[in-house]
């Protein structure tokens, strides 16, 4: 058994547990995209970043891959963590602004705009679908290909895989390929309206595609 401190609170976890498990055991909120119970941790999205160490020895680690250590001092929402996390959210928004999941996280952290060149990728390379296919469906039909800015997920040779059983597991876990909430202007995709709870705006806008019911982007104060 390992005892460590999270935001000043002591917690005891089994050997081999990750920081994220300890944090969630105590009920602290840490956003994740690429983490899913039953799949091996990958640390791809970096959203679960936390600060560990004392004094000048601080560092940011991804809590989903970092094993719990005896006496570790973990902060889940220090200024440094929040700044890093907001930057990661901005980067994710720049990659896939149409993702409902990412939009929700952005809204939660009050990220209303991002400063990077806007792309409209349908994939954030979180690897959930790859791990789902390999570890839960035992198929290994899709995987990572290439590297650097050419990295992508798909089947070998882009041809139909004979390993694929069309189970749909990859679609089910994907946080990025959902239809996007377009708000009223498709290019300014971050509305944050889903975080509010008041009557729906569907009456006012025809092209709102958000699955959230109600979506109240129109109620937000205009900046």
């Amino acid at each position: 058994m390992i005892t460590l401190k999270i935001n000043g609170l002591p917690v005891t976890v089994d050997k081999g547990a990750t920081l994220l498990e300890a944090i969630r055991f105590l009920g602290f909120h840490v956003p994740t995209l690429c983490h899913m119970e039953g799949l091996s941790p990958m640390g791809a999205c970096r959203l679960c970043v936390v600060e560990i160490g004392n004094g000048n020895n601080n560092k940011l680690v991804s809590s989903c891959t970092y094993p719990a250590q005896e006496g570790l001092n973990v902060r889940t929402s220090s200024t440094r963590v929040m700044n890093a996390r907001k930057m990661i959210i901005e980067l994710l928004l720049a990659t896939a602004p149409q993702s409902k999941t990412i939009q929700d996280i952005a809204a939660k952290y009050d990220v209303r705009r991002q400063r990077f060149r806007q792309r409209y990728e349908s994939c954030i390379l979180c690897g959930l679908c790859v791990r789902m296919c390999e570890e839960q469906m035992m198929a290994k039909a899709i995987g990572f290909r290439g590297r650097g800015d050419r990295r992508s997920i798909g089947t070998p040779f882009d041809s139909k895989s004979e390993k694929c059983r069309l189970c749909g597991g990859c679609l089910y876990v994907c946080p990025a390929c959902e239809l996007r909430c377009t708000y009223t202007e498709p290019d300014k995709a971050v509305c944050g309206g889903c975080a509010n709870l008041s009557p729906p705006c569907l009456i006012n806008y025809d092209d709102v595609m958000c699955y959230m019911d109600p979506c109240v982007a129109c109620e937000l104060p205009k900046e």
């Binding site: 290994k140 899709i142 995987g143 990572f144 070998p156 040779f157």
Partner: protein, 281 residues
């Protein structure tokens, strides 16, 4: 490409367990690229999934899934070469070869690539063609590089290079001349012998120029294959008395007219050789 030849490559690397990269390197060395079918055979034979093998093959820049040209032109675009005009050299090659970067010309002669740094920044901009380095390349040089490559970069100038000279070879047993004036290699009559390997009998013509390793053969001899070489007249095996100093394969011994014995390694690709000129005037 046949599945059997791929299987042989995998068998040869059986002692390096799970070393996919070694297998892929060998396949690439044999075919010049990684054919789709070969990756499927590798997946089948090694029991690893095709996804993983495809991932490795697309991850490393060494591997190519498309057939590559006879000559690989790599233009350095590292920082130093970049500021010295690497990108304009790249554009000049694109014009000269009429193909885009990363692609192969229609006649399958050239593949144009860029590299990040070759570690010889003082000589930039650098262009590497088939392991031959061209330094301080200007746009005007580009066509010269292409022309030189087409003429053959390994070509040795027999008239100028003193360490290279033609010899006349005879059989050590029947003393018949092995020279074939009808078949020229390096512009000199070639040395004709018979070879036997992997149950195949055929002719082999060696360059008679001492210092040149050019050969022509009836069958494609795989790299590292050890062949038996016979005199085409008396059918005696031209066996040497010592193993190759480089790779320990048997040496092939032939007599130089005018005195002396030349011994060459019987392994394809090995450059082990020796010339004993005792009694040669």
């Amino acid at each position: 490409m046949s599945a059997d030849s791929i299987r042989k490559i995998i068998d040869d690397t059986r002692d390096q367990p799970a070393n996919i990269i070694v297998v892929l390197e060998d396949i690439q060395a044999k075919f010049g690229y990684l054919p789709e079918e070969s990756l499927r055979v590798v997946a089948e034979e090694t029991g690893q999934s095709l996804v993983d093998i495809y991932g490795v093959a697309t991850f490393y820049k060494t591997f190519s899934l498309k057939p590559r040209g006879q000559h690989r032109v790599s233009v350095c675009l590292g920082t130093a070469c970049h500021v010295r005009g690497g990108p304009s050299i790249e554009k000049a090659f694109q014009r000269a070869l009429n193909c885009k970067t990363g692609e192969t010309t229609d006649d399958k002669k050239f593949t144009l690539e860029t590299v990040a740094c070759l570690g010889a920044c003082a000589l930039g901009p650098i262009v590497v063609v088939d392991q031959h380095y061209f330094s301080k390349v200007t746009i005007d040089d580009v066509r010269r590089v292409v022309r030189k490559t087409l003429e053959g970069l390994d070509k040795v100038d027999i008239t100028k290079d003193k360490s290279v000279f033609p010899v006349e070879i005879i059989c050590s047993r029947c003393a018949h001349s092995l020279m074939d004036p009808t078949f020229l290699i390096d512009d000199y009559p070639s040395v004709r012998v018979t070879i036997y390997f992997e149950r195949m009998h055929g002719w082999l013509r060696l360059s008679s120029v001492y210092g040149s390793y050019n050969i022509e053969s009836e069958y494609e001899i795989p790299m590292d294959a050890v062949v038996n070489i016979f005199c085409p007249h008396c059918h005696t095996e031209l066996k040497g008395n010592i193993p190759c100093p480089e790779c320990h394969a048997p040496m092939v011994s032939m007599v130089v007219r005018g005195g002396g014995v030349v011994q060459i390694c019987s392994r394809r690709g090995c450059k082990g050789h020796m010339l004993d000129v005792t009694g040669m005037n």
